[in-house]
Symmetry: C2
Subunit: 282 residues, 2 copies
């Protein structure tokens, strides 16, 4: 759809630097939403209110689906005015808040902002001894032996996150092999009401000399898989069971979700796709 | 750690209704962060700036790790003042913005807000004919046959989300069986720079009369698994391969990540945990 389909309907000329009431400058996204990005909002509340009002009127006439405002943090005085006119926060991070408003007389189809944090745990098997790498952490008042791991960074692949976290916490370099389990948890601590998916990645060690980060970790060691059951930690028990089974029957043949590349039909870009290998599994 | 460990250090009495400069009222979280929740911020910028300044000074003296402000949308005039004093957005949704600031002279340990949306696709097999349920959707300029599915809601389990989306889009009721694959994608369309994990859930049909939602879906039908390969959609091909393999060798024995419950060691609450069943897989 051409942007010009909407422009001729404007009855007041849009202005990018505004010092008087005007239709706000905007682009139209592929969901027919108006996207307003202004760095230099005026200080005058009346100009902001009047400009937002006549712009909303125009956008409704043009049957746009929604409006999005990107507001720099130092211009947040705009926000209460926008809120009076029906806007609310969609998201905010660092120095920008994003407000939006649904304009059509049907239920909003705007997806909520991201709902999950991704955690990555490394089940690192020693490449020679098949021992498992574990760390001790203090969580609340408990000292717990567990798999090394942490939060994946923004736009980080699960496999890369697991290898990175293991190295940062333990000093051990490792290679990603597969995903052998994951759990979903809601309202996780520190998650601001969001949820968490924690992936257990099977990694094989490339080095074996531990050099743990004493800021994050109380202790770190290699343990025999059978000794994992002596530790009080249900998810560690389940992981050790899987690993013992995999050692006996072949990991790929029994417990792995393997990493494959599959192209997106829309963009052609390869995704990381995890599934059972069926070639090796007759 | 007791909250009182910090209170005696305050040299100005905290006030909840403030009309003059004061230490802001706060609680301390388990990461030694000060949490400030005020509904009735004053209009006067000078009172806000001075109160935030002396509070920050106190919190630094008390060696608190961080400060968090919950600011109602109608009080967003506070935000530019907080930004001048070193705060930035951690997140915002609907009518509340959350700003924070790290106080210690080491690298911030505050996790970023949620980074992923979760998508759920339903690979529904007809319980009698083993046919696969597919829908046609318009994505950009393409009409694509694909699995029914959509975004999981906030705090929704993957399994529940897949069953719900299949019903909403196709009218088919189904039962969750397992997860047979998932992909991770970064900077997905409409994700505001966030990432997406899309889980393919194996479902078995409980009903078979299609009643699709014409607002969301162009068409819907049951197809033979062999015919899935005639459709141009790589992830659908891969899913059909998995399903054919599972039908031949037993789903649990070959392609499933099964849902188990595992208690958290910290809270004792059961998590949803997905992994290979090893009982049936000798």
């Amino acid at each position: 759809m051409s942007l010009f389909a909407f422009r001729p309907l404007l009855n007041i000329i849009p202005c990018r630097l505004f010092s008087q009431t005007c239709i706000l400058p905007y682009d139209i996204d592929r969901f027919k939403g108006a996207r307003v990005r202004i760095q230099d909002w005026p200080d005058d509340a009346k100009i902001i209110r009047n400009s937002l009002s006549i712009s909303l009127e125009q956008w409704r006439k043009d049957k746009l689906s929604s409006v999005w405002l990107w507001i720099p943090i130092e211009k947040a005085h705009v926000i209460p005015i926008a809120a009076e006119l029906g806007f609310s926060y969609h998201n905010a991070e660092e120095r920008t808040a994003v407000l939006n408003q649904w304009l059509l007389p049907i239920k909003s189809m705007i997806p909520r902002f991201a709902t999950h944090q991704v955690g990555v745990g490394g089940a690192v098997l020693h490449s020679k001894t098949n021992e498992l790498l574990v760390i001790k952490e203090r969580i609340r008042n408990l000292e717990i032996w567990k798999l090394p791991g942490g939060s994946a960074e923004l736009s980080e692949n699960i496999a890369d996150g697991a290898v990175r976290e293991v190295f940062e916490e333990t000093g051990i370099r490792s290679k990603f092999e597969s995903i052998i389990g994951f759990r979903q948890a809601h309202r996780y601590p520190g998650g601001h009401g969001r949820s968490d998916i924690y992936f257990i990645c099977r990694l094989s060690s490339l080095t074996d000399a531990i050099n743990f980060d004493a800021n994050e970790v109380l202790d770190c060691k290699w343990i025999k898989l059978d000794d994992a059951f002596k530790v009080e930690n249900p998810i560690l028990h389940r992981t050790a069971e899987q690993l013992l089974f995999g050692l006996k029957h072949g990991f790929e043949q029994s417990i792995d979700f393997r990493l494959e590349k599959i192209p997106s039909i829309v963009t052609g870009i390869n995704f990381n796709f995890f599934t059972r290998s069926i070639k090796s599994n007759k």
